[in-house]
């Protein structure tokens, strides 16, 4: 690359976007430190951290997020792969299915699911049951992320090349396609985490105490603690995602067929 990349416009642009994103968080932060009248301090945070319910609900949500990612990817990756490789004519169907979760009200989805599927007891009574609708709720985002990623690959060439070298389907998917999808997979995973951590209606109606339910509860009962919790949850989710990103990046091999990175 011989061209000097002008740094001014991108830097300025990113700076403005950065200010837009940070300011509301700052405003929330200022309020979270307020203790009445003119006093400021960390009492809201201290009160929060000492509540066991905070960590319990957080742990539950993180666990559900990981399970949702796994189930979601297992179900979606083969389907999106085959869609892009062979059956592009099914794309309108996939597009439609992927936006359906946007337009069906969550409470209607709960009602439908719980009417249709009432067992087995050992599953439906546990919080893991939430993974089933969560995969659906994350579907629009995970599908798009994977689809955009797979479209960016030349799947046909990749497939023909590997199969002419004697690779079977298993090798093809796990050792050729997936390593090239790292960015898309991570994106899908991150979006799923965000959705699961923020999902409220299902957990509320099915009486599970997830992080979002806890945040809402605090928001109803205490003013400054709600703001403190908002920032805390922002921070915790952010750190969780950095964790995902770092493990995702470090584990990948350097298979670079056709993609510039």
């Amino acid at each position: 690359m011989n061209r000097r990349t002008p740094r001014l416009i991108p830097g300025l642009g990113l700076g403005i976007v950065g200010i837009y994103f940070i300011t509301p968080l700052l405003a929330t932060g200022v309020f979270s430190l307020w203790e009445g009248g003119d006093r400021y301090g960390l009492s809201a945070y201290a009160a929060l951290i000492h509540q066991p319910k905070l960590w319990q609900s957080l742990g539950l949500s993180i666990r559900l997020a990981i399970e949702t990612i796994l189930v979601g990817l297992v179900v979606l990756v083969p389907a999106v792969f085959w869609l892009n490789l062979r059956v592009q004519r099914l794309r309108p169907l996939f597009d439609f299915l992927s936006v359906l979760p946007f337009v069906v009200p969550p409470i209607a989805l709960v009602a439908g699911m719980t009417t249709l599927y009432t067992g087995p007891d050992w599953f439906v009574g546990t919080a893991n049951y939430l993974v089933v609708p969560y995969v659906i709720l994350a579907l629009p985002y995970t599908y798009r992320a994977l689809d955009v990623g797979m479209r960016a690959l030349d799947l046909k060439t990749l497939t023909e090349a590997s199969q002419s070298l004697g690779a079977g389907w298993f090798t093809l998917i796990f050792r050729v396609v997936v390593p090239n999808l790292t960015t898309a997979l991570i994106g899908a995973a991150l979006l799923t985490i965000a959705i699961v951590m923020g999902e409220f209606t299902f957990a509320n109606i099915l009486l599970f105490n997830t992080f979002a339910v806890y945040i809402d509860y605090i928001g109803q009962t205490s003013a400054t603690e709600a703001s403190a919790l908002t920032l805390l949850s922002f921070l915790i989710t952010w750190l969780a995602m950095l964790g995902v990103l770092v493990t995702g990046r470090s584990g990948r091999g350097q298979v670079q067929i056709g993609g510039a990175r």
């Binding site: 509301p24 209607a108 989805l109 479209r151 995602m241």
Partner: protein, 294 residues
């Protein structure tokens, strides 16, 4: 001919029916069981009156404030998606530029993922604390002589909502479009420049056309995301800006009255809108796909 002698290419050529089932079945079964069936159950109630089937509720979609709600929702989603595409696309592009500091990308990606779902009451509270009538920025602007609310701006309006929606639209775009941007090979840019193209020429003839399918795909996602949001506008404007998801939530999961049929009819309307939007998208995609070999 023994199976071992069949060339590998033959294996691909003969894959078809069974393979399709194997790859697609888990997904299709899952979606049918847990999405399509519950949706059908919901839509059925849209046609159930007190004495059997009726079109009453569906017809009421064309009345008064319901029409306003649909118009507002479509406008809001279209604008919020557009802002997300443009600002998010540029942000993703800037972050991926070769000269940028190393950690920036991870920072932006992860922050973006959190911000993409930072919606509802906390987001509304944060924005009211910033730009509400007693917000930090509003007060600060008043100190230096600018009366924000006096000059007609208000956070509690469609433009205000677009401003707030951008907070989760932009990061969503960044995350979704990054893989597509990464696939734009440097060699193509260099080749174009060697042939004498300016930056504008490159984008117009090479970059954007290649990106277009992914841009359209992202637009659908952003539109749907904005279209379905109800916690944020409810917390911010609590119903003075008529919006469809807020109306549905009022009537299906509220505290005043409950009406399954009205909610179902409204959801049916939302599905109709999304089908139309996707139809437009399919038309554009087909015209674009014609000359990009894929």
């Amino acid at each position: 001919m023994s199976p071992e002698a069949i060339p590998p290419a033959g294996r691909i050529a003969r894959s078809g029916g069974w393979f399709t089932i194997a790859f697609m079945a888990p997904f299709l079964l899952y979606v049918t069981a847990f999405l399509i069936l519950p949706t059908l159950m919901l839509l059925a109630t849209a046609f159930l009156g007190k004495h059997g089937l009726t079109l009453h509720y569906v017809r009421s979609l064309g009345e008064g404030q319901t029409v306003v709600a649909f118009r507002n929702s479509i406008e809001l989603s279209a604008m919020a998606a557009f802002v997300g595409i443009v600002v998010g696309g540029l942000t993703a592009y800037f972050v991926l530029l070769p000269g940028m500091p190393r950690g920036l990308r991870s920072l932006v990606t992860t922050f973006g993922a959190v911000a993409a779902n930072f919606a509802g009451v906390p987001l509304a509270f944060a924005f009211i604390a910033t730009l509400g009538s007693l917000g930090i920025i509003t007060v600060w602007l008043k100190l230096i002589g600018i009366n924000l609310y006096g000059s007609g701006f208000t956070l509690y309006s469609l433009p205000g909502l677009v401003l707030v929606y951008a907070y989760f639209q932009i990061p969503l775009m960044v995350i979704v479009i990054t893989p597509a941007l990464e696939a734009l090979r440097r060699e193509w840019r260099e080749a174009a420049e060697n042939l004498g193209a300016s930056a504008w020429d490159y984008w117009r003839h090479v970059g954007l056309p290649i990106l277009l399918p992914s841009l359209l795909s992202a637009y659908i996602l952003l539109f749907g995301n904005a279209f379905s949001a109800y916690a944020t506008p409810y917390a911010l404007t609590s119903g003075i800006v008529a919006l469809v998801p807020v109306a549905i939530s009022n009537v299906l999961s509220g505290n005043v009255m409950v009406s399954q049929q009205t909610g179902a009819a409204l959801a049916l309307g939302m599905i109709g809108v999304m089908v139309v939007v996707m139809g437009i998208y399919a038309l554009i995609a087909r015209r674009v796909g014609r000359w990009v070999k894929r």
